[in-house]
Amino acid sequence: MFFLGLMLLVISNLQAATIHVPDNYKTIQEAVKNASPRDTIIVHEGYYTENIIITKPLTIESTKGSDASIIHAAVQNEPVLKINNVNEVSISGFTVTGSQSAGIYLYNSHNGQLRGNKVVNNGSGIVLISSNNNTFVNNTANLNEQYGIYLELSNNNILEKNIVNSNKDKGIFLSSSSYNELINNNVNLNAWNGITLWSSHNNLLKDNNILRNRYGIVLSDSNNNILTNNSTWSNIYAILPIVLIYIGILLYLVQKHLLRFI
């Protein structure tokens, strides 16, 4: 009986717990600090002013999506969410804003997932340094001062169905990062390049919309990358109105000649 009781105690400790914010802890950082590895932190709607550092595998998700759960940087020169030296962190459904550094920063962190987050009005949106095998799906990285999504020395990551618009420098920037997959992303209206590959090899860019950036896709010192079915009409907007006005003039002449016969 004693051993059975002891085993039950051990098993219950091994099972992942679910922590609610702000019910169990007032702030997300407090919940992270007190959580055990592989716990799930459920964040209810609200405006949270804090910088969160995650150093253990956790799942953090909002109940009502990114529009209702907003995390704003308390210290502006630190990332809002810093995932540091940890594997298997999952974050979904937040608006992350107000950092002059980065919205979400992954350093040496692998096998993580970011889903349905809006990373807006930061220094850079999502930044990965030496982080591999992460998956980013349905995130929005708009209106950041520098890059929407930046990968450095990061390999085998998947970026799928993300929106990366109106950033003041580049949209997606891969620096010395290889074997990444960029599929079905919308990368529009960024001040400079839509997607930049710098010293990055063997990446796959497929089915991306890269529209109305200064330059669409820029490859520098990068080899063996596969680019298929990407739309890149960067500068058509400068020509199209002129073409349309010309068509209008022709249509006027056609209509006038037609009316003469009627």
Binding site: N165, S166, N188, L189, L211, R212, S231, W233, I236, Y237, L240, P241, L244, I245, I247, G248, I249, L251, Y252, Q255, K256, L259, R260
Partner: protein, 123 residues
């Protein structure tokens, strides 16, 4: 490949150009053919404008004050242009109003080329 807003905005600019040129010709020559072309294309342009506005309001982001005021402002310019032409009192300003309408369509085009869903007009 193309968004409906891009196609409608393109059609709008084409027809607005036809209407503008025929309007200028009608002012000069008072010819009935030009007047017919001007009216026909003008009303088609108005229908396209209203369709774009409705598309904008039924967008996934819902109705926004900025968007509504922009569309209402455009509609006010169109109404003023029609009033100026019909009243006859300020006939000499009609061509200027036509130019304003063309500029308005250029703005609509620039904000709707293939990226309608994120333009400030909320299309």
């Amino acid at each position: 490949m193309f968004e409906i807003a891009t196609i409608l905005a393109s059609l709008g600019l084409i027809l607005a150009t036809v209407s503008f040129i025929s309007g200028l010709q009608a002012l000069k020559s008072k010819g009935s053919a030009d007047t017919k072309i001007h009216r026909f294309n003008g009303y088609l342009t108005l229908i396209i404008y209203l369709s774009l506005a409705i598309l904008s309001m039924s967008g996934k982001d819902g109705i926004k004050i900025g968007s509504v005021s922009a569309w209402c402002g455009g509609l006010a310019i169109i109404a003023m242009k029609i009033w100026i032409v019909r009243s006859g009192r300020a006939y000499k300003y009609a061509s200027w109003m036509g130019i304003i309408l063309i500029i308005m369509w250029l703005i609509i085009i620039y904000t709707n080329i293939q990226l309608g869903s994120m333009s400030f007009l909320n299309l």
